[in-house]
Amino acid sequence: MAAENKDDCESYLHIYSQMRRIRAFEDNANQLYLSGKMQGLTHMSSGQEAAEVGICEALESTDYITSTHRGHGHCVAKGAHFREMFCELLGKVEGYCRGKGGSMHIADQDNGNLGANAIVGGSAGIATGAALTSKLLGKKDVAVCFFGDGALGQGLLYEVMNMASLWSLPAIYVCENNLYGEYTHVSEMAAGDLCARATAFGIEAHELDGQDVLAVKSLADDLVARARAGEGPFFVLLNTYRYHGHHVGDINRTYYRSKEEESDWKDNRDPIALFGTWLRKQKIATEKELEAIDEQVQADAKAAVEYALEASYPDLSEVDMHVYAANA
């Protein structure tokens, strides 16, 4: 693929910047945790940026996504701001969920992110329901369900894919296969052919290199357009890798994956480095220009972290607010 015009160039640089933003967000979140400023369970998506950005760049802000426990990347990719995100991770009232959700339940209502989910596979129904809304109300919205290879174990996924196919829903099931569910390799958890799970329901399935952001984006452009036109649902299997442990506390990993494997992915298949090289080769950006993007992103992240650290916690009276929605 080559850069044809100025719009294309801008869109490529936006893709680059979004991937950088995810990496910077995760690096800062990791630091917050390691320095004891953030509590709880948190899962880094570093290494999976091309999958997240490649898909979300094909979506409008009115399209829906559902996300997972490893959800910061999806949230950034769908257009969220650092400030509200860091505030949420720190339990501050200015967070997207007023501090009530935290890392594992972050959602961005304005950009169609229906939320991260701490139940593996737990959002498959929600995404499919969003697709049903789109169909019932005659809208053109598409719903993307992000999930990991581990979620292939959950029966709910198969029930909803069956219904989505029966009813031709505008849903796209995106499986980010990062090879592990917690401390177990995908080969020990999922028997048979992964894509065949979808094709058995008559769902068109695609498998591709999840580290190649342009390949992901171009497939997503096509599938999103077709889903809008009523040709859904679709299934996409993206092969990728998580750089960090399963969660921030998973430091000692050699009993389930080798250091060589980790460095192979980081050194040779890093989605940001690969795309940066491509941008330079295509003369879309110089090394300097890319560095300038990196610096800007770092500065944004730093400012947002500082802001969030100083921000207020919710007033204690909020503890029993929002249990029920107020009837309109």
Partner: protein, 331 residues
């Protein structure tokens, strides 16, 4: 006596029972090499191999159903459910299938399985990894429910659970895995349906479960300094419940408070309070008090989460109000 952690106690109980009965096996996510995320089962796979310490896919309803079928046909599965919150995923297999087999078959079938899982908030794990859902399973006839509050109880109750011919749900406090207690080297079992009186007192009976036992004991210590003597009882199993011990104590102290980390609405505290009201009403000097978790999903924000769980201070304050007859001032 030697001291070991609650985690080690559970590990020992399972290892001992697996040595004793070759039909016993463990089924769950990351139970083998990883030894569970809390490392409770570390080392078991080295001794028993992957045929008996079985890693499953992330398929809770599926492996629970498989355990039910395996239990009905001559084995004793131990299901490891990583978080108590995942009970919601397995409810059909547990409550519609496992719990009812004996009854529906007129006593001809049995389901000797143990499901071990956990409860407890304040780990900043938010709404789907912090719940204390034991009341849900207590509600279903056919299930037994054990709630250890120390390493000692965890071991003795686990061994009894594994030997029981019924489905048993045993719920550990995930914040206590590293807490140590004296645990004998020699074998012991703790029978179901026998409460433990952990502290003697004359002024009020504090009935506390699982994570709340420590809260009750600390409150009792503080109160003792004021001359208020609280009796602290841990029922240890909620089904079956040792009503006699509870009622006898309340008849003696004439006041009672039930403390439990489940939501207060429609929960354990209401059930036990009502049994006391039934059987000790004429001995009571004050209404039976219920102290449960706040009726909200567990919030992430640390400042909010801490408000949702009963604390020592809250218990002390409420006990003072009861004993001093000021109840309705604070209500």
């Amino acid at each position: 006596m030697r001291e070991i952690t609650l985690s080690q106690a559970v590990n020992e109980a399972i290892a001992e029972e697996m040595r004793r009965d070759p039909t016993t096996f463990v089924l769950g996510e990351d139970v083998a090499e990883a030894g569970t995320p809390f490392k409770v089962l570390s080392g078991l796979v080295e001794e028993f191999g992957t045929d008996r310490i079985i890693d499953t896919p992330i398929s809770e309803p599926g492996f629970t159903g498989i355990a039910v079928g395996a239990a009905m046909t001559g084995t004793r599965p131990i299901i490891d459910l990583m978080f108590g919150d995942f009970l919601f995923l397995v409810m059909d297999q547990l409550c519609n299938q496992a719990a009812k087999q004996s009854y529906m078959s007129g006593g001809k079938l049995k389901v000797p399985l143990t499901l071990r899982t956990n409860l407890g908030a304040t780990r900043r794990s938010a709404a789907q990894h912090s719940q204390s859902l034991h009341a849900l399973v207590c509600h279903i006839p056919g299930l037994k429910v054990a709630m250890p509050s120390s390493a000692y109880e965890a071991k003795g109750l686990m061994k009894t659970a594994i030997r029981d011919d019924n489905p048993v749900v045993i719920i550990e406090d995930k914040l206590m895995y590293q807490e140590k207690a004296a645990v004998p080297e020699e074998e012991y079992l703790i029978p179901f349906g026998e409460a433990a009186v952990l502290r003697k007192g004359r002024d009020i009976t504090l009935i506390a479960t699982s994570s709340m036992v420590q809260v009750a004991l600390k409150a009792a210590e503080t109160l003792a300094a004021d001359g208020i003597e609280a009796e602290v009882i841990d029922p240890r199993t909620l089904v079956p419940l040792d009503e006699d011990t509870l009622i006898t104590s309340v008849r003696k102290t004439s006041r009672a408070m039930v403390i439990d980390e489940g939501h207060q609405n429609y929960g354990i505290t209401g059930e036990i309070a009502s049994r006391i009201a039934d059987k000790a009403f004429y001995y009571l000097d004050a209404p039976v008090q219920r102290v449960g978790a706040m009726d909200v999903p567990v919030p992430f924000s640390p400042v909010l989460e801490d408000l949702t769980v009963p604390t020592v201070d809250a218990v002390v304050e409420r006990v003072r109000a009861v004993v001093e007859g000021r109840l309705h001032d604070v209500a």
